[in-house]
């Protein structure tokens, strides 16, 4: 049975259209991560599921029950807030038991639930303390513990790790994934951090401008983005995008020209663009190679800057008239990611090559035209 069903949800704030026809079905036990740029509506969507925001139209079901007009406390959800939202005047114990207390559960049951949550989250020592006596990571765990004690049908997380430092964030990420595996509950998680999305999600929901762009397993989304937005949003460093013109189109094959004379052939297109139309070619930084004139496609470039990250090397290369758009560096240079340490002095002339099969083709509306690529199954 579906755990959460969102049907045609719309949300207006005065004149602002925050959520546009959102429909999504979440299965029992799934870990759904909603990502998108700030203002894309991901937090609003989470709050409508929680019941903290009302919907303008549409329907929400949890475990088959219509909860559209129910109070948050009656929806069978629990939520972990970005600010943790721990009640400062209550001890850890009281914070975690508050929901059950409001539901007028017997004291023994509350104590048992709190003890269990405390044990799962290793908070036994902190039960009598107040939130202000705890570290950031402990507060985070209390917030999660508060959710666990309610044994909800669905856990909702609103950017729960964004207030933690980098090391703690990684630790909590692992802890949350472990918790999900242990509890097997449905979880819906909002973040702007794509590493969290890629590592934790069973499925990722990419939102943009109040609309769902794409839903799918992390690697599916990474390998086969349905449009230019998703292609650009997932993956760091970002995909290189180059403007191109269709020089010839034939059946489901097409040849496009980037810049002055870089020709790329695309086969098995999902949809064939008209000859002469404007398109965008995309290629991920890790799919570009340096010094391989034999590759199917190559172009000359000059090294601008090299970043040595140890495990990998990022080269920013200027290809003259062949310039990219919307790159991380804010300039028209290409980003090339190499899997080991290779020295490239600035101003070195290089040849950049790639396989045509690694490139993506998007039409002028951003829709992906290139053939679906095989996804490595885990």
């Amino acid at each position: 049975m579906a755990s959460v069903e969102i049907q045609n949800v719309e949300k207006h704030y005065g004149g602002f259209h925050a959520l546009k026809d959102i429909s999504l079905t979440v299965d029992e036990g799934e870990f759904i991560v909603m990502v998108g740029p700030s203002g894309c509506g991901k937090s609003t969507l989470l709050k409508t599921i929680a019941g903290l925001e009302t919907v303008t139209s549409g329907q929400l079901k949890i475990k088959g029950r219509d909860v559209t007009h129910l109070e948050p406390g009656d929806r069978g959800i629990a939520m972990v807030f970005q600010s943790y939202a721990l009640y400062p005047h209550m001890t850890v114990e009281e914070n975690m038991g508050f929901g059950l207390r409001m539901a007028k559960r017997p004291k023994a049951e509350i104590d048992a639930a709190v003890a269990r949550a405390a044990q799962i989250l290793r908070l036994e020592e902190q039960l009598r303390k107040y939130p202000k006596q705890l570290s950031g990571g402990q507060r985070q765990r209390v917030a999660i513990g508060r959710a666990i004690t309610r044994s909800p049908d669905v856990f909702l997380f609103d950017e729960p790790l964004s207030n933690l430092d980098a090391a703690l964030r990684t630790q909590m990420r692992v802890e949350l994934s472990t918790l999900h595996a242990r509890l097997g509950s449905t979880m819906i998680y909002v973040t702007h951090d794509q590493v969290e999305a890629m590592t934790m999600a069973s499925r990722i929901v990419v939102l943009n401008g109040g609309r769902i762009e794409q839903v799918g397993a992390p690697l599916d989304l990474y390998t086969n983005p349905v449009n230019l937005f998703v292609a650009g949003f997932l993956g760091a460093p970002r995909m290189n995008f180059v403007a191109a013109k269709v020089s010839s189109a034939n059946g489901n094959s097409a040849t496009v020209v980037c810049g002055d004379n870089l020709k790329i052939d695309f086969d098995d297109l999902v949809e064939t663009p008209a000859a002469g139309s404007s398109v965008t070619v995309g290629i991920r930084p890790e799919r570009l190679r340096i010094g391989d004139p034999d590759a199917g496609n190559s172009f000359p470039a000059r090294v601008n800057l090299t970043e040595y990250l140890g495990r990998e090397t990022i080269v920013y290369a200027d290809a003259g008239s062949l310039s990219t758009s919307g790159s991380d560096s804010g300039t028209g240079v290409f980003t090339i990611q190499i899997g080991d340490i290779q020295p490239f002095a600035p101003d070195t002339a290089i040849t950049v090559g790639f396989d045509a099969g690694a490139a993506y083709l998007f039409d002028s509306n951003g829709k992906t035209l290139s053939a679906t690529k095989p996804v490595t199954k885990i």
């Binding site: 709050k47 929680a50 939520m79 939202a85 009640y87 929901g99 508060r146």
Partner: protein
């Protein structure tokens, strides 16, 4: 000279800055207050020589029935003023809605706060007038005759306090509205997710966040109740037959009308002693949070 100034200006300049304010406040307010305590040990008509009488003024006060009337009335003021914070909170809860026009309505609710106490006194003398006041009109609807509140020695203090509550409630309203504005949205959200609503939400989630504001409202109300003077002076002049005096008014009356400055000073000192406890309590709480962070 210039060099001397440059070398010492890091402490000379601040000293010069603080001096005018500190001297003026120190002499006119602090020193004067201490002097009053000194005066309370003398017999003095305000003009002639002062004569040391030791604790005689206080002994006399202890036997003065009027003193106990004042004290009793101060307790009535204090007790009834305790209604101001809850009433202010209730009004704030009523007004804390973001609807077009609400802003203007809120401001209108604040109006009693900026009125002079003389104005409030005059307005309420009107309300209580047994022949043409608002109260007589209301009693008239029920075919009853309004009591002359301000000439009834048992009711007069209550009537004056009700008038004084009007601006005091408005003051608490302002404080609580500000407090409600600063509520942590996420905490309210967490409370809703936890199933707290209505009074449970108010009690467990909202009020704990209003603790600081409630404290201020309470403290300012207590101090306001004990300081009450204007309303008594304007509405009843302590009457009828001295039944509505408070310590502050009795002190004024004894000094200005009866030229018993030593006795007045003793009353002021007693009032100060009562208030000092509250002021100290307020100051301690007010200054404490900084010590924690310092």
């Amino acid at each position: 000279m210039m060099r001397l100034w440059r070398r010492h200006r890091h402490w000379l300049a601040p000293t010069l800055f603080i001096l005018p304010g500190a001297l003026l406040f120190g002499i006119v307010i602090i020193l004067a207050s201490v002097q009053t305590i000194w005066v309370s040990f003398f017999d003095w008509d305000g003009v002639g020589p002062m004569q040391w009488v030791g604790l005689a003024n206080y002994e006399q006060l202890a036997e003065d029935p009027q003193f106990y009337v004042s004290l009793k009335n101060n307790v009535i003021w204090l007790g009834m003023f305790m209604l101001a914070p809850p009433l202010g909170l209730a009004l704030a809860l009523l007004l804390n809605q973001a609807i077009a026009g609400m802003k203007f309505l809120k401001s209108m609710f604040f109006v009693p706060l900026v009125l002079a106490s003389v104005t409030v006194g005059v307005v309420f003398t009107w309300v209580y007038d047994p022949t043409f006041g608002l109260l007589s009109l209301i009693y008239g609807w029920f075919g009853a005759t309004a009591p002359a509140l301000l000439s009834d020695e048992h009711l007069v203090s209550f009537a004056v306090v009700i008038a004084a509550l009007w601006p005091q409630v408005a003051f608490c309203l302002v404080l609580f509205l500000a407090g409600l504005n600063n509520l942590n949205e996420d905490l309210i959200g967490a409370g809703r997710v936890d199933g707290a609503r209505g009074s449970a939400m108010l009690l467990h989630v909202v009020l704990p966040q209003l603790r600081e504001v409630s404290f201020i409202a309470l403290a300012v109300t207590v101090i306001g109740a004990l300081r009450s003077f204007d309303m008594v002076a304007v509405m009843t002049s302590g009457g009828p037959f001295g039944s509505s005096t408070v310590l502050a008014y009795q002190m004024y009356e004894q000094s200005i009308f009866s030229y018993r400055f030593g006795y007045g000073a003793a009353i002021a000192t007693v009032l100060f002693a009562i208030m000092a406890a509250f002021i100290a309590w307020y100051l301690r709480t007010l200054l404490r949070p900084e010590q924690e962070t310092a």
